[in-house]
């Protein structure tokens, strides 16, 4: 099965003109565009059933609660979770990691312990540990990369010694690398560590099954998977979430509040303090419906094909003038292509491409330790999603030439 060819039509933004060109959006790793069905789901919520949830006995409050909780159930199913109680809503993947670090780590970690992350992590999976480590004094250990940008597992078992948590990305937002999460998780579990997975780039693009991933905790973010801003997810095995103390305090997350203390609510509400992002949860539910209707297998296949085409086109046309980071086999990577073209700085390249309506990202992609490993300050990154096609890749490839001309003076 392939994806329908008219997918762009379902995304209102993709018909926008930029500087006289129809937009070519190649920055989905930063944030994806939204199908009309997702935008409409939120509109409908605001226009017909908007009300605060969980505490209202009247009709629209009951409907809002029902829609929100149904979305939770569908999101749980989407990632192969046993129970909607394992799906905690946060504001983004970053908050999900802070929740893990503060709530799980604040309880479990102290001097002498270690947390293992990798050299390709996003700041969201680095800084929360650094903040906590400054308080608790545990060690942060880094799993290194091979020259091709894969995780180097040759010393994994040594590195796991004394580690209580392995927190790794399933897919790099810079290199595109897909990591062997299940294998690492097996070895981590054998060493007595828990495994948290950054699914921010993975869940939107590949079929996800938390059981197969062998993960204990999984973080992802709505806006990269056709959903709205302002919504993230923390999935966790029920017994692990149960063992963690609350993170933020306030309404909804309590069963009782007395002057001398409070009794936390049950999962998942224990971790959802205050009025939840109701419209955003409903929007993310619609996004998951949209993705499921296309089929995650088909999306993955489409992206492999497109990435393969892009890697070949770029190499064929520019050869040695171009450095492409990360693994060369499209089956080992997602649709993220970080490149360096001649001596043109990424910021300049992205500026030039913008004049043709082509959106790529330039910068450190919130992965400064990785930039240091790669020996660069920034990369230019094009990233693909279900709505991109070969014409988009052609536009990218052609426009590099323009940049080359401008900089050949």
């Amino acid at each position: 099965m392939t994806l329908p060819s008219d997918l762009k039509d379902r995304f209102p933004l993709l018909s926008q003109m930029v500087h006289g060109h129809q937009i070519v959006y190649l920055d989905s790793a930063a944030s994806s565009q939204k199908p009309a069905s997702v935008i409409d789901a939120m509109n409908n919520y605001y226009r017909t059933i908007n009300a605060n949830v969980h505490r209202g006995a009247y009709e629209i409050a009951a409907q809002a609660t029902e829609e929100m909780e149904q979305a939770r159930t569908r999101i749980a199913t989407f990632i192969g979770s046993d129970s909607p109680n394992e799906v905690v809503f946060t504001k983004n993947a970053t908050e999900s990691f802070n929740l893990i670090a503060r709530s799980w780590g604040g309880n479990a970690l102290s001097q002498g312990d270690a947390v293992l992350i990798t050299d390709m992590e996003h700041h969201a999976n680095i800084v929360p540990w650094q903040i906590l480590s400054a308080e608790k004094g545990f060690e942060i250990r880094w799993l290194p990369l091979t020259p091709e940008g894969l995780l180097d597992l040759s010393h994994l078992d040594q590195l796991l010694d004394g580690v209580k948590m392995v927190s790794i990305t399933a897919m790099s937002n810079v290199l595109g690398t897909l990591n062997p999460v299940a294998e690492i998780a097996e070895r981590a579990h054998a060493a007595g560590a828990l495994v948290a997975v950054d699914g921010s780039q993975y869940v939107p693009h590949l079929p996800t099954d938390v059981q197969e991933l062998n993960a204990d905790l999984l973080c992802f973010t709505g806006h990269k998977m056709c959903g709205p801003t302002g919504i993230g997810v923390l999935w966790g095995r029920e017994e692990i979430l149960d063992s963690m103390p609350p993170f933020l305090g306030g309404g909804e997350m309590i069963l009782d509040v007395r002057r001398d203390g409070f009794t936390p609510n049950e999962l998942p509400h224990k971790f959802e303090a205050g009025t939840p992002p109701i419209a955003e949860i409903i929007g993310l539910g619609a996004a998951v419906d949209f993705l499921s209707s296309l089929g995650m297998d088909n999306i993955r296949q489409h992206e492999i094909t497109l990435t393969d085409y892009a890697l070949r086109s770029l190499k064929d046309r520019y050869g040695e003038e171009l450095v492409i980071h990360g693994p060369s086999d499209p089956a080992q990577r997602g649709g993220v292509v970080s490149l360096q073209y001649r001596d043109i700085h990424p910021h300049d390249l992205s500026q030039v491409l913008d004049q043709r309506g082509i959106c790529i990202r330039a910068g450190h992609h919130c992965a400064k330790p990785l930039m240091k490993e790669l020996g660069v300050g920034a990369t230019s990154r094009a990233s693909f999603y279900l709505y991109n096609n070969e014409a988009d890749v052609d536009a990218l490839v052609d426009s590099l030439e323009l940049a080359g001309e401008l900089f050949s003076v």
């Binding site: 001596d343 700085h345 910021h347 500026q351 030039v352 910068g363 920034a378 900089f407 003076v409």
Partner: protein, 155 residues
């Protein structure tokens, strides 16, 4: 190409590829000031020596896009041997060219600027940046870093 040629003038690319006054001076006697553009990660680090109220030497390290690095290089050439007073004026004139009108730049000041009739010279080549508002911060990064450094002298 809607202003791209005006942005990437030859002289800018020349400064980008062959930056002037690269390096670092010993601190002390030199003073140091570091600047950072969180948007794109551009960095500029300046070391400079002051003598009799003038910038005697100024050296630059850093990394970033052509605009930020060329601007730093051009600035280094422009401020060499200028009095702190004149450097401040020049920076105001440069920012005015970048369409940045600072509140502190009162009418009286403006007169002074024209009175001093400092010319921007090579710096004029950066005028094309104005058409690309997100890049203005790149062009002004080194200037702001220098101004912070000069402010710290008094502090």
């Amino acid at each position: 190409m809607s202003g791209l040629e005006e942005l990437y003038k030859e002289i800018i690319l020349d400064h980008y590829r062959n930056p002037r006054h690269r390096g670092e001076l010993d601190c002390p006697p030199a003073h140091k000031s570091e600047g950072f553009n969180p948007l794109c990660g551009d960095e500029v680090s300046l070391t400079f020596e002051i003598e009799d109220g003038s910038i005697k030497q100024l050296r630059i390290t850093g990394q970033g896009c052509s605009i930020s690095q060329a601007s730093a290089s051009m600035m280094a050439a422009a401020v060499q041997d200028k009095s702190i007073e004149d450097v401040r004026m020049l920076s105001r004139e440069f920012k005015a060219m970048m369409s940045i009108h600072e509140e502190t730049m009162a009418a009286a000041d403006q007169e002074t600027v024209s009175a001093a009739s400092l010319t921007l010279g090579d710096l004029e080549a950066l005028k094309g940046v104005v058409k690309f508002p997100v890049r203005i911060k790149c062009a002004t990064l080194s200037w702001n870093t220098l101004l912070t450094g000069l402010d710290d002298l008094d502090g």
